[in-house]
């Protein structure tokens, strides 16, 4: 077994309309790490995440997840390992009730109904949404939707949790709850966000993407306090670090 769990090697990708979204991206993520992905609008963060479990396939370059190299045959296996939480929970909660939605993944994995029930209950309990079981997703508040979307993913017991902008549109308290929730996950975590304070709180390591390439990679604390580097990349110091110096 390899000790790194995700590896991108010189990955290139363009959208059909010609936009070059990934342009020679390379990095390794090891087991148990928590990694933040940051970068300007359009830097390629979402595109990168879409590669991580095989919705998009690189035009050139290689992607390894666990023991597999990503291609169309292995992508089913890889999807079991990688749980992706989408930016907009409405895209992800597609079943008519919360319970059915969380059960969707485990059922597709062929788990027996009793075990499904167990992991659904457990996942809902983890995010504190047991009471919402029978509600339709469109009757939930935004914070509840986010929580349920996470439950739906962790019910599949993935090795790696990948999230795109998990906290947008949450009120500060719900955002804080989410941060605490994320902090206590044991999973390998990869989080793309503009919320640098969230990244600072949750992730030890940070990868900065610019124009489809890695522009910087290092410990979050260091990277996110490098004012010049951040400015160059359309970012700025995390808010919680801004006033202190002043």
């Amino acid at each position: 077994m390899s000790h790194h769990i995700v590896e991108f090697q010189d990955v290139h990708f363009s959208y059909p309309d010609g936009t070059i979204a990934l342009n020679g991206l390379s990095f390794k993520i090891f087991h148990g790490e928590s990694v933040g992905i940051v970068g300007a609008n359009g830097a390629g963060k979402s595109t990168l995440l879409m590669h991580m479990n095989g919705y998009l396939h690189p035009a050139s370059g290689r992607i390894h997840v666990g023991d597999f190299q990503l291609d169309s045959r292995t992508c089913q296996e890889i999807r079991k390992k990688v749980g992706l939480v989408f930016q907009n929970p409405d895209d992800q909660l597609f079943m008519p009730t919360v319970y059915e939605d969380v059960a969707f993944g485990p059922l597709n994995l062929g788990v027996s109904p009793e075990l499904v029930k167990e992991s659904v209950d457990q996942a809902l309990a983890t995010v504190g949404c047991t009471a919402l079981k029978d509600k339709p997703p469109h009757h939930l508040s935004s914070g509840q939707k986010s929580a349920v979307a996470i439950a739906a993913v962790i019910a599949m017991h993935p090795d790696i949790l990948v999230m795109d902008e998990p906290a947008s549109n949450l009120d500060p308290k719900s955002r804080r709850k989410l941060i605490n929730l994320l902090k206590c996950f044991e999973h390998t975590k990869i989080i793309a966000s503009h919320d640098l304070d969230l990244i600072l709180d949750v992730c030890r390591r940070c990868i900065l993407i610019r124009e489809g390439r890695v522009a910087a990679d290092g410990p979050t604390k260091e990277l996110l306090s490098d004012k010049a580097l951040l400015e160059e990349n359309n970012l700025e110091l995390p808010l919680s670090m801004q006033k202190c110096g002043a």
């Binding site: 919705y55 999807r79 895209d91 009730t97 993913v153």
Partner: protein, 269 residues
Amino acid sequence: MTFDEKYFDVGRLDRLSYQSTCVHQLDPRAKVVATVLFLFTVISFPKYEVGGLIPFFLFPVLLMTMGEIPFLFVVKKVLFVSPFAIFIGIFNPLLDTGTVAVIAGMPISAGWISFVSIILKFSLTISAAILLVATTSFPGVCHALRQLGFPSLFTSQLLFLYRYLFVLMEEAMRIIRARDMRAFGTRGTGIKVFVRLIGILFLRTVDRAERVYYAMLSRGFQGDMPSLRKSRIAMTDMAFMATMITFLVVFRFFPVTEEVGRFTQELFR
């Protein structure tokens, strides 16, 4: 109705369907089958039937009260919905003028009777449809349809439709609000702008469908929509069906209204 009102209306009906009264707890299949039988019975009455239809109002009234569905809500829906039947029916009194009865010295033409019959049938059938969804919830109806043999492809995408109805209606509502906010009356609401709005909404919809599909793939979707719902028909459902059928048969073949009337007349004679 403005877009908002229509949207709120759907939302309200949907919310009602998630209550948990005894009517809501009946098996969806039982309610679907009962509704269909009810509709066929009502529709099977001949053109000039009025009295025989009246006892059937017992069903919507029972469903509304037992299911705690606001009476006015249903009445409003029936009144504002689909003017087509009335539009077509209103020609009957115009064209079918033969007098068939004189009541209180006022002759009644056959056309009016058949028109009243259409109105009664209309109220009964429309309220039955609304009450079905208000007491069963849309996913309930879908699962019932699937269990009753409808193709699973059809019911699966019907469930998707239901789920994204609310998401897309909200999206559409925001777009419409944005238009109306800068449209000032009817100037900006013409067909050109409309086509663009629809086009934008369409593209966003297609993108969303793509994301939803990705979300499904990421959770092991391979073409089948698994379902945990394995409802079993309970004794209460059987009892409900039996009562329903009995009453339908009695009301259909036994002139209840007339008998009640005759009986009352006898009493006061």
